[in-house]
Amino acid sequence: MPFPRCLALALLACATPVHAFCGFYVGKADAGLFNEASQVILVRDGHRTVISMLNDYKGEPTEFALVVPVPHVLPRSQINVGDRRIFDRIDAFSAPRLAEYYDEDPCSPRELEMMKLRRMAPASIAMDAAIMPKRSLGVTVEASYTVGEYDIVILSAEQSDGLETWLIENGYRIPPGASRALKPYIRLDMKFFVARINLQERARTGLTYLRPLQFAFESEKFMLPLRLGMVNARGPQDLIAFILTKNGRVEATNYRTVKLPANMDVPLFVSGEFNRFYKAMFDEQAKREKHRVVFTEYFWDMSWCDPCAAEPLTPDELRKSGVFWLNGDDGQGGASKVMLTRLHVRYTRATFPEDLMFQETADRENFQTRYVLRHPWTGKDECAQAAAYRESVRKRQQVEATTLASLTGWELGAVRTRMGLPAQPEAKWWERLWN
């Protein structure tokens, strides 16, 4: 049940008045954690759209081919090769994070007062274009460019099997059966942005990785084409979309959008293995939702953060990521807002039969996947209330163990053992009575 949980945790966060800000950042789980996760930056305002796609392609460069349906023929000026570091920055800024707090001396006068208060409160818890035939198989090469290390052609097609044949004949490595997935886009009169690697140009850049492709266009559709990526998918695939808008949180309109469980206390050992924890937690949550939902991992105004997993992006970095409304010095005194919604989707062919459609909501309530470590007081217990404090720590750790086991699907006994707690929770008095 969402709201009481959030309420309880808000109370917990505020129950430590010692920290003027909510904890400090100690670790994060970045997008690279998820193998073969596609990363996309989608910038949208009105019908204006800028899409940046990061290719984490590690195979033979000659085998690489990217096919993206686009609403119309894109002139060269609407295509750009971006900076990969932008993805790293935006990923670092919005990554799931771990925050830690240290308990105060239970015997300090303020703590004694707080304990009294707490007791009173209820417990909370891409060829060479020149050699290509201009028209064959119903496929028309509308345009062709070399942009950076990519050779790009924009195609229109009449028949999907014609397009599939054309792509194969022209040396693009596309998976068999692609025509079925291409058909709906052709019938919607969409064009295809097709990219492959230009080996000479690539050698000239001297880069060992592929830079992100960016394209800017106007379209009434606020969407991401997912379906083409599923043609050769064996199991579930991951997509991380960083969506930058002006007004509010972005959510899917044709799938359920769910916030990941966050802002919970977890055992201290998670500090050393936060990546493993986060991956297990995401796997478990995705399985529980049967790969049918879109997860929100982060939503925040890009001008600040708390705690900051990385510094907010500079106006120049935002422009490089495609934000087009920050002109020059932003003459409105910094009033141009950029809101970042980070969505993480684990999708399968059967559970995501339609492309992802989005809407920008009016919701401005910040959200981050943040987990909390609470270090118990390690000093001496010098007052009678310290015993009550130790008891509360013991209870808190039991809850942390259960929370972690439930979030990740890890076995509770193993979690308890790692925490230095007995593998089994203490038997109830009536269990001890007859055993």
Partner: protein
């Protein structure tokens, strides 16, 4: 001696409420509970409490103003449930304000002795168009409600107390028919149809919003035509304009047709409680 179940069934029927809105309230309450408990709705309990408080107080005031202090509160409860289920806001003032506007509209926006707009539909549209910080999450139900949702709906039909389901079935037939046609024309994966069929928002709209007997044409032929128009408009909104919230927009924009259709095809107005005698 002959055994018959007849008297038992009749007794049972007699014990059931005559007013279809009682069933509506029960179904809406269970849907809202399911949404809040299992669907991660971003609805806060204060927003819900304020919706009901403001909505019911508006009904009390309006009934006194028109000199019917003993009038029914059932419709107001249905509207408050509808608004709680549909409307999302990042503040506390949007819900009560919209509840007042929605229920107030029943007493103010009237044509030929009938209120014009479905109050929840009007409320949601006013919030979407005019108020900051308000939105509707069309994907909030997910698309795997087939079994549970359809079971509930069929249950409510079987009870036989609610009338004028013709508009629901016509709308659903037209809407899903057009989705299927589009799927075939585009050569899409058949799962697209299943995905639409399990859409909780479609289900809710079909059986709780467009079926509101007070805001649809009185004559059966007019109702069927109206349902087809709303379905066509919703498809155009969703797949022609690619805009979200097609269903509520379609109903809102098509509602002014109701008085025109009522003038064209004349029939008796709907009564929530069967006439006595």
């Amino acid at each position: 001696m002959e055994l018959s179940l007849r008297p038992g069934i009749d007794t049972l029927r007699g014990a059931l409420p005559k007013d279809a809105r009682v069933f509506q309230i029960l179904f809406l309450a269970s849907l809202l509970s399911m949404g809040v408990l299992a669907r991660d709705f971003t609805l806060r309990w204060e927003q819900m409490a304020l919706t009901f408080a403001a909505g019911l107080m508006t009904q009390v005031y309006a009934l006194h103003r028109i000199g019917m202090p003993n009038g029914s509160y059932l419709s107001a409860v249905v509207t408050c449930f509808g608004l709680s289920i549909l409307l999302r806001a990042d503040s506390l003032w949007v819900h009560p304000l919209i509840a007042i506007i929605a229920i107030g509209s029943k007493f103010v926006l009237r044509v030929n002795g009938k209120h014009l707009y479905n109050p929840a539909n009007l409320g949601v549209m006013v919030a979407l168009i005019l108020l900051p910080g308000a939105w509707v999450s069309p994907g909030q139900w997910g698309h795997d409600l087939i079994a549970a949702g359809w079971f509930l709906m069929l249950g409510s039909v079987v009870t036989g107390h609610a009338r004028r389901w013709d508009v629901s079935w016509m709308f659903l037939g037209c809407f899903l028919g057009m989705v299927a046609l589009r799927m075939l024309l585009l050569g899409q994966n058949p799962w697209v149809f299943v995905h639409q069929l399990g859409n909780g928002a479609l289900l809710l709209f079909t059986f709780f919003m467009i079926s509101d007997p007070m805001t649809i044409p009185n004559h059966r032929r007019a109702r069927l035509l109206y349902a087809a128009i709303v379905a066509g408009f919703a498809i155009f909104w969703q797949y022609g304009l690619f805009k979200p919230n097609a269903l509520v927009w379609a109903l809102f924009l098509c509602t002014p047709l109701v008085p025109l259709l009522d003038r064209w095809w004349k029939a008796e107005r709907f009564q929530w409680r069967p006439a006595t005698g």
